[in-house]
Amino acid sequence: MKSRSRLALASLSATTAVVLAFIVPTTPAIAHGTMSDPASRVYTCKNEGPETPKSDACKAAVAAGGTQAYYDWNEVSLLEAGGRHRQLIPDGKLCSAGRDKYRGLDLQRADWPAKRVSPGSLTVTYHASAPHSNSNFEFYITRDGWNPTQPLRWSDLVHLQTFNGQNPSTFTNWTLNLPNRSGRHILYSIWQRVVGSNEAFYTCSDVDFGGGTTNPPTTTTTTQPPTTTTTTTQPPVGGTWAAGTTYSIGNRVTYGGVNYECQLAHTAIAGWEPPNTPALWRRL
């Protein structure tokens, strides 16, 4: 054991060894995981294969948001959540954690592959590919009468149980007590890390209680997220730099009282202000 740790240390440079000694206690090293049973949407589509989805729901999810989400199935997370789930994740985007990368998971469909369940006890399994101690796990079920073709809102969730101070392993089981429901519902979970990280993970697992004659609503009110329209405008000569404007090489702008000349054609965006982007703007 001793010689082993010596070897390990010898393989690191002194610099990293010293730095590591400082990092380890507070490391926010990122955990990874999702619900494997009942399988979360991301787990289902990952198992079908990101490039070869089989179910109509996964096909639609991949078509809507690409394949990368399903390679990174264990990262439907917010790194700086720190318990602010309801503040950070808007209604309708609970399954993606409000992240564009995972937007395919928010599709409002009544055909997501679902596990058949019954009221009463249900053992659930969480697959943590990088488990971390000191974690809280919260479980919710959608309210009676919830419709899978409607956006999932925070107010649709009924709290089932929270397990605090958990030290998950690669596969961790908990037993929940499911209430009476009929038809399709979503079992929602939040894994909030507590020590050394603010990271939280979110999962949507479709379950079917059966007996549900979930009438397809005659009018599906799909709330389209407002797409930010990039109105590309012609830059006024010698005008003030403005996001949304498309600039060509040689265009001149002022920003903060300083004059700049465009070095590379681009549409200006917040975060690409001239003083911060020497690749795009040359100070005159």
Partner: protein, 177 residues
């Protein structure tokens, strides 16, 4: 123990550019953020660089070129900080820091993208870059929220803003395509 000290002494003397006192000048979280962000940037640059010869959408080609150039200068800044603190540019692979990195885009993705042309390429690049920049936003918010160095946090704020705006643009390109 003696063996270990000898190794340590050898290692320190072996690092010609590293002042023994300099290693602690970078806050551990700032360092980890930069060490994670650098390879992430590199991968993004590799993917957008494919657009010049393959993309069909003129606006996408323009955005890709601007992402490539701005990320290259950001990477220079990030390398500059790490170097000035006497920190390695990448986290050792077997360290906690190395393990802690956000998943980088599948290296095979560059291969898959390379095989495509025109509208098919555009769609795949857009989806993959939306995902990639969404990861960058997550890392940036982590640094802005928990980092220490104000300059690094300012860069993180700009990364958050610019990537969020890029995602918005890329989603409109997708909707139009």
């Amino acid at each position: 123990m003696r063996f270990f000290l000898l190794v340590l002494a050898f290692m320190v003397s072996g690092c010609a550019t590293t002042q023994p006192g300099a290693v602690l000048r970078g806050d551990p979280l700032d360092v980890m953020f930069l060490q994670m962000m650098l390879p992430h940037h590199q991968q993004g640059v590799e993917m957008v660089a494919l657009a010049e010869e393959r993309a069909q959408n003129e606006e996408l080609r323009m955005l890709a070129a601007a992402i490539e150039q701005t990320q290259a200068t950001e990477a220079d800044t990030m390398r500059g900080w790490l170097t000035s603190w006497g920190e390695p540019l990448t986290a050792p692979p077997d360290s906690h820091a190395g393990h802690g990195g956000m998943r980088e885009s599948d290296p095979k993705e560059v291969e898959r993208l390379s095989a495509l042309r025109g509208a098919e390429f555009d769609q795949r690049l857009l989806n993959v870059m939306i995902a990639h920049q969404d990861d960058a936003v997550q890392m940036a918010r982590w640094e802005s929220g928990s980092g220490a160095n104000q300059e690094v946090k300012d860069l993180a704020e700009r990364i958050d803003k610019s990537r969020t705006a890029q995602i918005g643009m890329m989603r409109t390109f997708l909707d139009r395509g």
